[in-house]
């Protein structure tokens, strides 16, 4: 198999090829590092490539396989991750100037679980500074660029994760999602991504932004890959008291379950307010696919979601400001202007406004569940309501204009974080500017399996997820 053909494989197919010895882990690692070297010059998606350690680990994986030892379902699969997952002794810059010289004190549980599953980390990826930005701009590391058109944003904060996976420079990558940071780059770069239920994946060793909103999840070429990787990283963790004890189902085993009779909701309001006509058309085409597959598409009335976003913004601002309080006192000049402005805002949020935001979440989730999940199994909606903008158009600084712009980019993703619900972003076509867009499937808490089955069925019937950008 040629290096060009190897990097086109999904993570699941690569794992199968390595296990069946059609391909070595070393060949896969050499191919993906060569591609990463090539695309990084144009896309600025990597912070670091640990090539020698990764090649040695791939060689070891092949030796283990030769004597019949398989570490797990990702044996030999090369992955790079957002630069906020700590590995003991290594630098995780978190996209910042402040942490660029600080070795991590311990290894993230998500990384340990991926190691145990056999995946091999070969690099770390660009990201928004402290994961606090939805566009992919980074004034310390340089902006990450969209592989479909480098003048356009990747989305953030998991910018390098979206760009590298789309550009075939990583088979999959961890991202994180606090207000849309997995789903936005997945959408703008044309890959799949799962924001799991809050608490589904341990956050130990993952940089905190907003502890009551932060989630850990993968971006990958296919929904099947997302299911495979989430299955490897989900579950309880003695090092993270907030990680759920809820049993982890066999996502891969349920992937092919039939969706005939599945009730898919389409919202009457909010998600389609002021939406771009082309994006709306692609959403309707997606629903038509589901009808043809035998699902029942039902219009649902949503509670008034718009006001919840204000509460979500306040919660994230206050929690992020608390986490950054010490550096805001001692090193404020080391933040970029936009991140500093958002943290200053959070420092001034009244305690009662923050706590009322938290009090609202249970009430809101109950209302949402009554309106939506009493009638349908999953909700189908656009991930963003506009076409992918350029880097220049979204170069925004502080003030109310910044708040408005940021709210607008995350308007359709933030409710999933506020409610803690699992949301799967799936490529759903291309708009006139040649860039991808996506739908999101939103499910009941801890029912990622239903989302994977629905997303996988869609990808068996369409080819959007197979499209790759031209190599730079």
């Amino acid at each position: 198999m040629t290096p060009e053909a190897i990097v086109e494989l999904s993570a699941a197919n690569l794992a199968r090829a390595i296990r069946s010895k059609q391909l070595t882990a070393l060949a896969a690692m050499e191919a993906v590092i060569a591609r990463a070297d090539q695309v990084h010059k144009k896309l600025n998606c990597f912070v670091r490539i640990d090539r020698y350690e990764a090649l040695a680990a791939a060689h070891l994986a092949d030796a283990e396989l030769a004597r019949g030892a398989v570490r797990g379902p990702l044996h030999g699969v090369p992955m790079a991750h957002k630069d906020m997952y700590y590995r003991e002794g290594a630098i995780s810059s978190c996209g910042s100037k402040i942490k660029r010289d600080m070795p991590a004190p311990s290894t993230a549980t998500a990384l340990k679980k991926l190691d145990a599953a056999g995946a091999i980390q070969f690099g770390v990826l660009n990201m928004a500074e402290f994961a606090y930005g939805p566009t992919g701009h980074n004034y310390h590391l340089g902006h990450c660029r969209n592989p479909w058109n480098p003048d356009h944003i990747t989305g953030g904060s998991s910018s390098g994760s979206g760009a590298s996976v789309a550009a075939r420079a990583s088979f999959a990558a961890l991202g994180s999602d606090t207000g849309g940071s997995i789903r936005l780059p997945a959408t703008f770069c044309g890959v799949s991504g799962i924001k799991p239920t809050w608490s589904r994946v341990s956050r130990h060793g993952a940089m905190p932004l907003s502890f009551s909103m932060d989630t850990v999840g993968p971006l990958a070429r296919t929904v099947e890959d997302c299911a495979l990787i989430l299955g490897a990283i989900a579950g309880a963790d003695p090092l993270d008291a907030s990680a759920s004890q809820h049993p982890v189902p066999d996502y891969m085993g349920q992937l092919a379950r039939p969706i005939r009779g599945l009730r898919i909701g389409t919202p009457k309001r909010y998600f389609y307010d002021n939406i771009d006509a082309e994006v709306e058309g692609l959403m309707q085409s997606g629903l038509e696919i589901y009808r043809k597959l035998g699902a029942e598409v039902i219009e649902v009335d949503l509670p008034d979601i718009e006001p919840w976003n204000h509460a979500a913004m306040v919660i994230i601002a206050a929690e992020a400001a608390a986490a950054h309080g010490n550096w805001m006192r001692t090193r404020p000049q080391d933040y970029s202007d936009q991140v500093r402005a958002r943290l200053e805002l959070g420092l001034a949020v009244p305690a009662t406004t923050y706590l009322d935001g938290l009090r609202l979440r249970g009430v809101a989730l109950q209302a949402f569940s009554q309106e939506v999940f009493a009638k349908v199994d999953i909700l189908h909606a656009p991930t963003v309501g506009f076409q992918t903008p350029t880097i220049a158009e979204t170069d925004i600084s502080g003030g109310e204009a910044m708040t408005r712009a940021l709210n607008s980019i995350t308007r359709l993703t933030r409710p999933g974080n506020f409610l803690g619900l699992p949301c799967l972003s799936v490529p759903a076509g291309f708009t006139g500017n040649g860039l991808p867009t996506a739908m999101q499937l939103i499910g009941r808490p801890f029912n990622e399996a239903a989302l994977f089955a629905a997303g996988h069925a869609y990808q068996q019937a369409t080819e959007w997820h197979l499209q790759a950008p031209k190599q730079p």
């Binding site: 309080g325 006192r329 949020v349 406004t353 109310e400």
Partner: protein, 65 residues
């Protein structure tokens, strides 16, 4: 509707938590804060007295399949 809130109010508030802020930045914070906090507080008008922060987790567990 946004409440009036000024840079003059932001500066001592942030000083109280140990952060110095220049006048131009304080004006930006005041503007964004007034909008965000006012909008959030307007939502809370319908919040039941009994609602608790942990209520979200209970609702999550109840809604799970």
């Amino acid at each position: 509707m946004s409440q009036k809130f000024t840079a003059d109010a932001v500066t001592p508030l942030l000083a109280l938590v140990g952060t110095n802020i220049e006048p131009a930045r304080a004006a930006n914070v005041a503007e964004a804060l007034a909008t965000q906090v006012s909008a959030a507080n307007a939502v809370y008008a319908s919040l039941p007295f009994e609602a608790e922060p942990a209520g979200y987790l209970h609702a999550c567990a109840k809604a799970a399949p």
